[in-house]
Amino acid sequence: MKKETEHKPGKKYGMVIDLDKCTGCGSCMAACMAENNVPCKDDESNKLSSITWIRVYRLTNRKPFPETEICYLPRPCMHCGGVGDQGHSPCVSVCPATATDYDHGTGIVSQIYTRCFGCRYCMAACPYHARYFNWWDPVWPGDLKKTLSPNVSPRMRGVVEKCSFCFHRYQLAMEKAYVEGRRDLEEGEYQTACTQACPSGAITFGDLDNPDHAVAKMKEHPNAFRLLERLQTNPKVYYISSREWVRRAGDNYLKNEPTNSKPRAAAHHG
C-alpha cells in the first residue's frame, strides 16, 4: 500500500542543532507556538502540563560555583525512524488508533488530532517527553483568536500533540513546487519556524540524506551526537557540542563506559 515512494527514495528531513551556538533565549519555543497555534493558559509555570513542542532544557555539569557550566538544549520531536528507518518509532507502533504515523516520504512522524482519543500511550512510549497532552481546553480570549493561523488546526482538549517539523510548511512548499512544475524542493524552501527564528543560527534543517544539504555534512561532525541513541530510536535530530560533558549527557552510560558507547548490534526490535 505504501509502495508509491519506491521508485524514488524518500527524503529524510532532520535537524542539526549546534549547542555551542544556543544562548537559551527561547525564540524557537515562541516561534513554534506562534506558527502552530499553541495556546497559552493563565498559568504556564507548571511545566508538567505546559505545551511547548520544542522545549529548551537547561543542562548543568553539576559542579559547584564557579566551575558550574550550563548548556541549553532545544528538544523538538526527534521524529525517530526506528531501526533502519523502517518507521518503527517508539510512539507510532504503540498508538492503538493509528493516530500517529511515520511518513516514509519525508521521515516525519505525524499526529492526527481528530483521530487521537487521548490514551497517552504514545507519551509513555516517548523517552524524550516530546509529546504533550491537552489537559485543558485551548482558549484564545477576545481578539487573540485573530492570531490563529489557518495552516494548522487548533487542537481540542483531551488529545496528544507534538512537533510536526512544521509539516504544513512542507505541504505549502510542495504545492508551490508542483505549480511551478518541480517535483523537488530547494533546501531553503522548506524550513521549520524554529530554524528561521533562531537568532544564533544554531538550528539547521534539511534532508539528512541529501549530500547537498548542510545537515548531511553537519551530522558527520566528530562532535555530533543524538539523544538516547542507545535505545535505538534512531532520532533525526542531531546535536553538536564541543563539550564532552554535554555529549555524555546526551545518553545514559554505566559508570565506566566511555561516551559514545555504541548500542547493541542486534536489532532486537522492529
Binding site: 515562541a30 506562534a34 497559552c40 559547584p64 558550574t68 485573530k146 481540542m156 482538549r157 544564533s200
Partner: protein, 722 residues
C-alpha cells in the same frame, strides 16, 4: 393485545436488537466523533490569502526588522526580516509575541477617562473629541495661570519625530521639562562628558563585530543588552573566532555560561576590579600614550587605593589573575573592549563603575579604536523651523529635575529625581504630565515613593497602547496605535556600530479606536491655536514624517530602514579622575545578611513592555512559579538561611517584605540572591497580572553623586523561611 410480562420483555429485547440493525447507533457514534472534533468553542481559523509585509519592531530598543504574515487582514505571525542588518532573519521571543500585544487583552481600545481611584486602572470610554477637549482645557488652564512650564512629558526615547513632537509642544508652550527614562546609554553619554569634556548629544557605539577580546562587567550581552539580536549574533562570531569573553558577575548568567569565562567577584566590586586592572596596566607600563590630563593623579589614586593587591582582597580574586587579565586586555593585538551597564542595560547604573570601566578602555587605547568603544555624535537630522528660537526661549528656565544645571550637568534628564522631589516637597512641581511609550511607575526603583508621587501629580495624560502600571495613575488615556498599526520613524541607538533608522508601518488596520500618537500631538497643538498651532504646520503625522524625512521617506517606506555612517567625535583631552566617587552600588541596610541582585533574560522583559503570553510561557519555573517570583540562591546560602529548594520564603529589604519561592542553584555565588526583573506588573491582562514581585519595589534608589541618575544595582536583603 394483552401485554404481559413476557411479551413486554420480548418487546424490549426485540426493540434493542432491532435498533442495532438500523442506522441509528452508527449515525450517533459518527455524530459523536464529529462533534468531538468540532467543538463549538474550538476556534476555526478563517482562511484567506496570505501576504507578507515588512516593518520594524519597537518592543525593545534593539531595532530589529520584522515581517508579518497576514491572512486577509489578520496578522497571524511575526518573523524576523532576513535582509535587515540587525537581526538578519532571527527574532526573539518578545518580537514573536507582538501579535499578542496587537490583539491582546491589555490594549486600550478607545480614549478613556479615569473612573476609579488612581492605581486601580478603572475607566470610562469617551470619544476622541471629548478627550482632546479635555487635554486642551488642562493646558489652557495652566497657560492662563502662567504655569505652562509645569507641563512635563516622559517618553521612552528622545529620538525620532514622535518624541521630538512632544518636546516641541512643550517648548512652544514654554516648558523645558521633557524627560526620558535613563538607560546605560545615558550613563555612557555622561562618561563622555565627564571624561572627555564633550558637550551636547553624543552616542556610544560598540564595534563588537571586530572585537578580539570582550571584558563585560555584568552586562547581559546575550540577554538583551544593547540590541539583543545583534549582540547574540556578535557573540556567535566571537565564539566562532574563539574570541575570549570574560564575564564579571556573581551568577552564572546565560552570558557568563555562553562566554565560558566567568569571573566571579564580590558583589559591588566591579568598579574596583576595573580600577585594579587599570593599576596593573599602568604599573606594567602597558597603557597607550595619548593626550591625557590628570594621569599622574589617577595613577597615584590607583596606587593608593586600588593597587592590585587591595583590589584582589576586595574582589576576592587572585592578584595574579588580575595582572594576567590586565596584560591580555591591554595587549594591542587583543583588540579588546570593556563593557558595562548591568543586565539588559535598562537602568543607568553607577558612574563609579562606568568611569572605572571607561578609564580601563582609555588606558588600553580602546576608545575610538577598531573593535572598541566609540563616541559618535547623536544624529541631528530632524530639524524643524523655529527650533532654535524655541530652545533659546526655554533655555533659561530651570527644569523640574534640574538636569543640565548645577550639580547635574552630565545628564539630559533625571526622571529618577522626580518622585523623591515631589514626596519631599509634599506637593507636585508638575502641573500636567504626558507619558508616552514609557512606564515609569513600573521601571523607577522605590516603587512605593513613585506611586505616592504620581498620586500627587494633578493631571496625567497617557498615550499608552496597553494598560500598565503607569496608566493606572493617569487621568486620561489617548491610546496610541500599536507599532503594527502606525507609521513611526525609530532611530536606533543600542550601541550599534552604524546609525540606523527604522520605520514602523501600519501593516494592520487599526484594531481598536486608537490614533497614532503623532497625530494626537499635532491635533492637540492645533486645537490650542495661535503660535502653538503655527509651530505644527503639518496636515497630519504622515505629512510631518514625509516633510521631515525628506528624501529618506520613500526609501524608508520601501525598504523599512536606512543605515548611515557616523564618524567618531574628536575626543580631545582625556580627563582621568583624581578621585573616584564613593557611591555604594548596593543600597539598603548593611545589617541585612544577603545581597539582592536583579537578573535579566531574553524570556522576561523588565522595561516598559510587559511579557506577552508566549514570552511569559517560556519563563522557566525557576523564575516564576504560580503567582510567585522565584529567587535563586546557592546551596550554601540555602543551608545558612534555612531555605529549601522549591519552598516559600520571605524576602525582606528596607522597602518591602514579600513572599517568594526559592530555587537552589549551583550557578550563583554564596550570599547573593538573584531575582528576575519583569514580574509584578499590574498589566490588566490575565496572563501576567499580579504575578510575582516588581524588583523596583524592593530596591531603594541611590542617587549618583556624579550624574544624578539612579545608581542602584542591588540592595541588601534577608531571605527567611516562610
Amino acid at each position: 393485545m394483552k401485554i404481559d410480562r413476557r411479551s413486554f420483555l420480548a418487546l424490549g429485547l426485540g426493540a434493542a436488537a432491532g435498533t442495532a440493525f438500523t442506522p441509528l447507533p452508527w449515525k450517533l457514534t459518527d455524530d459523536a466523533s464529529i462533534w468531538t472534533q468540532n467543538w463549538r468553542w474550538l476556534p476555526l481559523p478563517e482562511d484567506g490569502d496570505v501576504t507578507y509585509e515588512t516593518t520594524a519592531c519597537t518592543l525593545c530598543p534593539g531595532g530589529c526588522g520584522i515581517r508579518v504574515r497576514k491572512v486577509k487582514d489578520r496578522i497571524v505571525k511575526i518573523e524576523g526580516l532576513p535582509e535587515h542588518p540587525v537581526n538578519q532573519g532571527g527574532i526573539c521571543a518578545l518580537g514573536i509575541s507582538g501579535t499578542q500585544i496587537l490583539y491582546g487583552g491589555s490594549r486600550v481600545t478607545s480614549p478613556m477617562r479615569r473612573s476609579g481611584d488612581r492605581g486601580k486602572n478603572e475607566w470610562t470610554r469617551i470619544t476622541w473629541d471629548e478627550a482632546l477637549a479635555e487635554v486642551k482645557a488642562q493646558i489652557n488652564a495652566l497657560v492662563d495661570a502662567d504655569k505652562a512650564d509645569t507641563i512635563a512629558c516622559i517618553t521612552g526615547s528622545d529620538r525620532g519625530t514622535v518624541p521630538l513632537l512632544f518636546k516641541r509642544l512643550l517648548a512652544v508652550l514654554g516648558s523645558p521639562n521633557f524627560m526620558t527614562t535613563a538607560t546605560m546609554e545615558d550613563s555612557y553619554r555622561a562618561v563622555f562628558r565627564k571624561m572627555h569634556g564633550l558637550k551636547g548629544p553624543v552616542d556610544v557605539r560598540f564595534d563588537f563585530e571586530n572585537t578580539g577580546f570582550v571584558l563585560s562587567f555584568g552586562s547581559g550581552l546575550i540577554e538583551g543588552w544593547g540590541s539583543p539580536l545583534r549582540m547574540i549574533r556578535a557573540a556567535n562570531v566571537w565564539k566562532a573566532n574563539k574570541t575570549p569573553m570574560i564575564q564579571v558577575e556573581q551568577r552564572l548568567s546565560n552570558t557568563a555560561a555562553f562566554s565560558g569565562g566567568l569571573l566571579a567577584v564580590n558583589p559591588g566590586t566591579e568598579a574596583d576590579l576595573a580600577l585594579g586592572l587599570c593599576h596593573a596596566i599602568i604599573s606594567g607600563n602597558l597603557h597607550q600614550a595619548g593626550s591625557v590630563s590628570g594621569f599622574a593623579e589617577f595613577a597615584n589614586l590607583l596606587k593608593q587605593k586600588y593597587s592590585v593587591d587591595t583590589v584582589a582582597t576586595k574582589t576576592g580574586l587572585k592578584a595574579t589573575a588580575i595582572v594576567d587579565l590586565a596584560r591580555k586586555f591591554a595587549n594591542p593585538a587583543s583588540r579588546s573592549v570593556a563593557v558595562c551597564g548591568r543586565g539588559k542595560g535598562t537602568t543607568a547604573g553607577s558612574m563609579r563603575e562606568f568611569m572605572a570601566v571607561h578609564a580601563l578602555n582609555i588606558l588600553a587605547g580602546r576608545v575610538n579604536a577598531p573593535g572598541g568603544v566609540f563616541a559618535v555624535p547623536a544624529p541631528d537630522d530632524i530639524a524643524w523651523a523655529g527650533d532654535t528660537v524655541m530652545t533659546s526661549a526655554i533655555s533659561g528656565k530651570t527644569r523640574i529635575d534640574e538636569a543640565g544645571t548645577g550639580a547635574y550637568t552630565l545628564a539630559d534628564s533625571l526622571l529618577n529625581r522626580i518622585p523623591s522631589g515631589i514626596v519631599e516637597k509634599g506637593e507636585s512641581s508638575i502641573g500636567l504630565l504626558f507619558v508616552s511609550e514609557a512606564n515609569p511607575v513600573y521601571t523607577l526603583s522605590g516603587t512605593k515613593n513613585v506611586r505616592k508621587a504620581f498620586k500627587k501629580i494633578p493631571y496625567i495624560v497617557s498615550f499608552a497602547t496597553c494598560l500598565d502600571d503607569t496608566t493606572a495613575y493617569a487621568d486620561l488615556i489617548l491610546p496610541n496605535h500599536s507599532y503594527l498599526e502606525r507609521y513611526q520613524d525609530v532611530p536606533v541607538r543600542a550601541g550599534l556600530s552604524k546609525p540606523l533608522v527604522n520605520l514602523t508601518k501600519p501593516v494592520s488596520a487599526p484594531v481598536y479606536d486608537t490614533q497614532n500618537v503623532g497625530d494626537t500631538v499635532i491635533s492637540i497643538a492645533k486645537s490650542l491655536e495661535g503660535s502653538v498651532a503655527e509651530a505644527f504646520p503639518w496636515e497630519n503625522y504622515e505629512d510631518c514624517l514625509a516633510k521631515t524625512l525628506g528624501g529618506r521617506w520613500e526609501t524608508l517606506k520601501e525598504k523599512g530602514f536606512v543605515e548611515g555612517e557616523a564618524n567618531p567625535v574628536a575626543l580631545g583631552n582625556v580627563i582621568l579622575p583624581s578621585e573616584m566617587p564613593d557611591i555604594p552600588a548596593i543600597s539598603g541596610d548593611g545589617n541585612l545578611p544577603l545581597i539582592l541582585l536583579p537578573k535579566d533574560s531574553m524570556r522576561l522583559w523588565g522595561d516598559a513592555v510587559a511579557d506577552p503570553p508566549f514570552a511569559l510561557k517560556i519563563v522557566p519555573d525557576t523564575e516564576l512559579k504560580g503567582t510567585e517570583t522565584v529567587v535563586e540562591v546557592s546551596p550554601k546560602t540555602a543551608v545558612a538561611q534555612g531555605l529549601e529548594d522549591g519552598k516559600e520564603a520571605v524576602l525582606t529589604t528596607t522597602l518591602k517584605s514579600v513572599t517568594v519561592k526559592v530555587a537552589v542553584s549551583d550557578g550563583i555565588m554564596d550570599g547573593v540572591v538573584a531575582i528576575p526583573r519583569g514580574l509584578g506588573r499590574s498589566s490588566a491582562e490575565k496572563y501576567l497580572d499580579d504575578k510575582g514581585v516588581n524588583v523596583c519595589e524592593l530596591m531603594e534608589p541611590q542617587e549618583d553623586k556624579v550624574s544624578g541618575f539612579d545608581a542602584v544595582i542591588g540592595t541588601r536583603a534577608s531571605l527567611k523561611r516562610a
